[in-house]
């Protein structure tokens, strides 16, 4: 059904007892045209655009746990496109533009809030590199501006700008169109959209192996719910990409790390933008519920445990309280980590693998949420046509052999 004010009124008149499920839970069929492994944002968006842009609806999304239960439900919901190199700028701004129209397109409120994203400069050198960065973005047609210290104070009154501040703020670099979106809603919206176009979404279905023919071409997957055949298979499994790649017989230039986030108890509106301090490794925004959402830098040792270590937690909270002394009395409600797939140049891999018929969308590292729409759009393109989308041409696995890396370590936001 289509959501609207009228539908809400009808629901209210019947006591909200008759809302249909948002998507079906079908039994897996024996065969599909395309199977996508991973029911997070990227996998679901890929399925949606396969059906919508390419008319392929005989598609299944296989998810080991529940939809959006991995990094899609564990990020800090920030969307932005303040990247440095032209290839990345095009990619991420396409994503942000899709986000801007997504609630209408999916008929599902993703609660996009373009509240702006401020990156603090703590030294003259920060200011210089930020002015280069902002100018590069403007040349790519992406909004960016530099703020003086006073302008930062006017926008973020909670920030400590006094002379005693542990980390003095000299100014900031801002992308006004950046902001936050509700992460669950993005997964659910794409799931509902894909389901309505005929895609089968199958949860609690773990891939345990890949089936290949005599030529080494992938022909299907073995799962905890039986064998499912498909001539084209896409992996969108973020931190578990290497595990699936190993099952399929190849390796990736990926290392999995835990990335932490945490929320405080909800309070009244205090912070209406996203503030990041790359120098200290902390960033903060306030959710619509009122919680302060705090993101940390990576726990810098390989990990598949979805929890962070106490050392990093201490560091990020210290930095947050140095910036926002008034947050010191807030209680922390929850802390968790997602397993992120970090590659050497902090840029994604969207394309074929060494196994014919098997494609991969990975390497988004600490910044996959903002890229869900474009990740899905370009991954669907290569799955449907066998050719890279022009936005994804530079983001292929072979760049780790040719050496043509796109090093976005700085723009990926948080310390690697």
């Amino acid at each position: 059904m289509r959501y609207s004010a009228l539908a809400l009124l009808r629901g209210a008149l019947s006591g909200h007892r008759n809302w249909p499920p948002v998507w079906r839970s079908p039994e897996p069929r024996a065969q599909y045209d395309v199977v996508i492994v991973g029911g997070g944002g990227h996998g679901l968006a890929s399925a949606y655009y396969l059906a919508k842009n390419h008319g392929l609806s005989n598609v299944a999304v296989l998810e080991r746990g529940w939809l959006g239960g991995g990094n899609t439900g564990r990020n800090t919901t920030v969307v932005r496109s303040n990247y440095l190199y032209p290839e990345s700028a095009r990619l991420y701004d396409f994503s942000l533009r899709l986000y801007e129209g997504l609630a209408r397109e999916l008929n599902f409120n993703i609660m996009l809030s373009q509240r702006g994203h401020l990156m603090l400069a703590h030294s003259r050198h920060d200011l210089e590199s930020m002015s280069r960065w902002a100018n590069t973005m403007l040349m790519h047609g992406i909004d960016a501006k530099l703020l003086t210290r006073d302008e930062v104070g006017a926008l973020v009154p909670a920030l400590d700008l006094s002379g005693e501040a542990r980390y003095p703020v000299l100014g900031a670099f801002m992308q006004p169109r950046a902001g936050t979106a509700r992460h669950d809603a993005v997964a659910w919206g794409y799931a509902r959209g894909a389901d309505r176009l005929g895609v089968d979404i199958i949860q609690n279905c773990e891939v345990t192996g890949f089936v290949k023919d005599a030529n080494g071409h992938v022909t299907g997957v073995d799962t905890s719910r039986g064998r499912i055949l498909a001539p084209r298979i896409g992996i969108a499994a973020a931190g578990h990409s290497s595990v699936l790649a190993k099952l399929a017989g190849f390796s990736l230039p990926v290392v999995s790390y835990a990335l932490q986030a945490m929320v405080t108890e909800p309070v009244k509106p205090r912070l209406d933008t996203v503030v990041i301090s790359p120098g200290t490794g902390a960033y903060v925004s306030q959710s619509d519920k009122g919680e302060m959402v705090i993101g940390a830098s990576l726990d810098l040792f390989p990990s598949y445990a979805q929890r962070g270590s106490f050392g990093v937690l201490q560091g990020v909270l210290g930095a947050t309280l140095a910036m926002f002394p008034s947050f010191s009395r807030l209680r922390l409600m929850r802390q968790w980590a997602g397993i992120v797939d970090v590659v050497h140049d902090s840029s994604p891999i969207i394309g074929p693998t060494p196994v014919p018929g098997l494609y991969i969308n990975c390497g988004w590292g600490t910044g996959g949420f903002k890229a869900i729409p474009v990740g899905g759009w370009t991954f669907a393109h290569v799955l449907a046509t066998g050719r890279s989308h022009e936005l994804a041409e530079a983001f292929q696995l072979e760049r780790f052999v040719t050496g043509r890396l796109i090093d976005e370590a700085a723009a990926s936001g948080i310390a690697h």
């Binding site: 390796s251 990926v254 050392g311 052999v401 040719t402």
Partner: protein, 92 residues
């Protein structure tokens, strides 16, 4: 916080150490082609399980050493010196 057992200083908190990634990576021969060189530089097993890795006691003695550690439980299964062969715990 993990406690790591520096072979020279004994058990210390994790934030005194820096992880240097996978250990026992053989540098290819001088005549290596781009594929071999790329694999050497960038491609890693990234196991969900026992990982053989090198660490440095950066805020202590400054020495490098090897460790076998489980990447899900973070349990340290063995600590051994650089140049030593991996212990049985790492050969899963």
């Amino acid at each position: 916080m993990m406690q790591l057992n520096c072979p020279w200083c004994g058990p210390r908190d994790e934030n005194e150490f820096v992880c240097g990634g996978t250990t026992h990576i053989d540098r290819p021969a001088l005549g290596a082609d781009d594929t071999q060189w790329g694999r050497y530089l960038f491609f890693r097993d990234n196991p969900k399980g026992v990982h053989l890795e090198r660490w440095r006691h950066a805020s202590g003695c400054g020495q490098w050493f090897n460790m076998a550690r489980h990447t899900v439980t973070h349990a340290v299964l063995a600590v051994y010196r650089l140049g030593e062969p991996p212990p049985a715990a790492g050969k899963s």
